[in-house]
Subunit: 526 residues, 2 copies
Amino acid sequence: MEWKNFDQLEAYGKLGSLSPVDVKTVMAGESGVKRVAEYKIPMACGMLYSYAAKAVDDTVLDVLQGLADEAELTAKYEELYNGAVINTGEKRLVLHQLTRGQLGKDVIADGVNKREFYVGQQKRAAEFANKVHAGEILNEAGEKYTTAVQIGIGGSDLGPRALYLSLENWAKVNNTLKMEAKFISNVDPDDASAVLASVDVAHTIFVLVSKSGTTLETLTNESFVKDALSKAGLDPSKHMVAVTSETSPLAGNPDYLDSFYMDDYIGGRYSSSSAVGGVILSLAFGPEVFARILKGAAEEDVLAKNPDIRKNAALMDALIGVYERNFLGYGETAVLPYSQGLSRFPAHLQQLDMESNGKSVNRFGEPVNYSTGPVIFGEPGTNGQHSFYQLLHQGTDIVPLQFVGFKKNQIGNDVVIQGSTSQQKLSANVAAQIMAFACGKDDENPNKYFKGGRPSSIIVGDQLVPETLGALLAHFENKVMFQGFVWNLNSFDQEGVQLGKVLAKKVLAKDTDGALTAYSEMLEIF
Amino acid sequence: MEWKNFDQLEAYGKLGSLSPVDVKTVMAGESGVKRVAEYKIPMACGMLYSYAAKAVDDTVLDVLQGLADEAELTAKYEELYNGAVINTGEKRLVLHQLTRGQLGKDVIADGVNKREFYVGQQKRAAEFANKVHAGEILNEAGEKYTTAVQIGIGGSDLGPRALYLSLENWAKVNNTLKMEAKFISNVDPDDASAVLASVDVAHTIFVLVSKSGTTLETLTNESFVKDALSKAGLDPSKHMVAVTSETSPLAGNPDYLDSFYMDDYIGGRYSSSSAVGGVILSLAFGPEVFARILKGAAEEDVLAKNPDIRKNAALMDALIGVYERNFLGYGETAVLPYSQGLSRFPAHLQQLDMESNGKSVNRFGEPVNYSTGPVIFGEPGTNGQHSFYQLLHQGTDIVPLQFVGFKKNQIGNDVVIQGSTSQQKLSANVAAQIMAFACGKDDENPNKYFKGGRPSSIIVGDQLVPETLGALLAHFENKVMFQGFVWNLNSFDQEGVQLGKVLAKKVLAKDTDGALTAYSEMLEIF
């Protein structure tokens, strides 16, 4: 296995010498119809990835296939799931796919079969959740718990929160919302105060999530919550479970009802399918629903093994993104789900992508000479259409677009207005937007002229249910992984978050000088 | 008054020939202390705008002052608030500042004194809200309303929603939360279904907001809600008010409890201080709180009149942003409020900025040859620190940062952990981040090396209360306006949203061909 910088590959030069594909031209008329029919890849759970409206053609795709082959992208994926030390900076394995399936060999680390370890934790979480739901684990007053509140930040918050919100309404309709879930993350005390005011603490289980057991924001919020519990005359140890690593100070601590474990081989932003997501989602929806999420993710992970880019949606998505970033010069990607349930999914992808690949050094710690991860942002359509789409359509820069759409909504209530249902309007809008961005519109009035040529892809599914959600999650995790391989990055550490932590501690210790002192005074911290 | 393209100005050439300021160098040591002391501008309500950590020095600032003078920026503002036809595309006045104060001459349009018209509507909304709160307006069963739900999209949603969330917890603590507010925006029927399931419709007033009275998403959601009301045996006309223009089909319609008016001179994304925000916020918090928001905004509007850029925060912010965009080559701006209350403020600013200045033609409809509005995104700190800050610190591109911080939180509950309160930790983090971004950190290990040189500004206030919130709102509105003047854009239309609407209607009418048909089939719209 060779780990070369992107610009050392033969494919790099070839990509640079390609003639750009004019999206406006190729998406017009019969050519467009042909592309929509051909440029699509089946995904797990009946979904498909369509890249017809991207600035690629068979010539570009052949070069991208050459890049995938030369950079040994699927072989590197194989290395990863077979337990190589892919996280070079921290010298760790990268095993989040193992939380949902076994893709290759048994991975034995620290004397343990890791797949068995993760499955064991899932079983423990499932049993715990079942007991809570069945009333076998009760509060001090012998009453059932009704609410679960996750305390975590970053990967211990964004992914699980996005998944919960994705299925909350679906679960209500399908009578599988066992407990309402809420989330506390920000160290701003107003966050915890507001969540606490909105729940019945006597009937709430708090799920404290910190891999290291030392995340300052999370421990602060834990104390905040324990304070509130004590003031309400409740016993904090009857209202809190921990999700952490086995070596953390939170592990097996009698201050918690129970503890569930992940390990150092699960990066925070890749931890939704581990106990980090598993405990809260099993409590909220029941373990069966969480298992269905894992099933969808596992299916997608298997599809990502295919070395043929035309049959591997995550790999294709990754490669097109690299081409856009390094050769078409696009600095951002907008994620635009046409599904209200995915309202916070872009925020999760923002962390997943930007924290993984927002780096300037390669996996060996050497500076790279090419652009890496783009800025990711997004809001659900149709809301975005009435907001920032103006810039996407007529701004001076081109922003590649990642649409997501479903044939059916989750709740099923609908109404016919002006001859169509809301769901039809929603889907009509996403279809219309793809074509508006691709082909634009001529107009004598330059103010009403749409240049077009703005590339997009779309993932289409039948409905947002646990399986398709899991598949979506895995798709993007694997896309980011493949891009990291191309850029020769370590996508699994995050050294860039350390300096701020160090300086914040200095401020709190009053150990500052220069402008840091001046800003501290401006903010009247003391 | 001359309206020239930016690149026709003398200052354009001068800006291009400036030597770049190295943020890392100037923010170190005593130089940094001096900059923090000097590079700040008082804002309304005791707030301040600090631009010490931006890539400017006195030389750059002098050229920016020259730009402001040459482009007659404050004179153009004066034109605007005195009632000139600034919205050239739609041939409209631009009067949102008039909803909160009179900055210049009386503006008479359509035979009406516009300031009096807006104030009149505020009084009507206040009276209506007071009657609802006092139980003088009751539901069919003679009971009080407890909840208000806004139905709107884009500017009728994002601004009012951001303002509501900004003050919801403050209002609870200060016993001025009169009614809980919720928002329905997306045409995805799951949005309306979920909100309806979360409220007691029998005691809910729906505030239907559409200037034209023809916004398809909003009318669809209105029907959805009316359907639900009817099915619950309720009379929709007893549960709905309209906010619209006087010429819309919704005006004075007996299907509503009452109607409140704005007009074509209030752009959607600038409408929070009109009846669009006024009705829902007066219902939620009481009219006095809404008046306090307006007071803060009005104070900030007055400060924006100052032609001295060193005394005009909105103007300075605008000019530095232009310099970053056109001469330093930065394509994005991240908005990072260290206040949980401002959780959706970035989404509002995203629309405000990107819909206003995401354009490729000037105000006369002629193409421009320079970059215009950047991509805006953001999440509250400290959450963002554990998410996308990795890329901001160590990514290959530089993203300018706009921090917002407050000395006090809103709710006032706090807890001391490891020797400091949560509020101290929150403020310590924002101070630390500014310096980490500016000065970076040397390290032998390139993976732990922070290059620094990443510019930021911060707005600091005492506390997020109605006045400071209003001032913040106006600051960004005025910043965007000034940038539009520099780029010679019409920041007040949004032709870029039209094409998608037209194509969506074609899909719904089954009047499609080519790839649009193919995508419609893929999504199984029919």
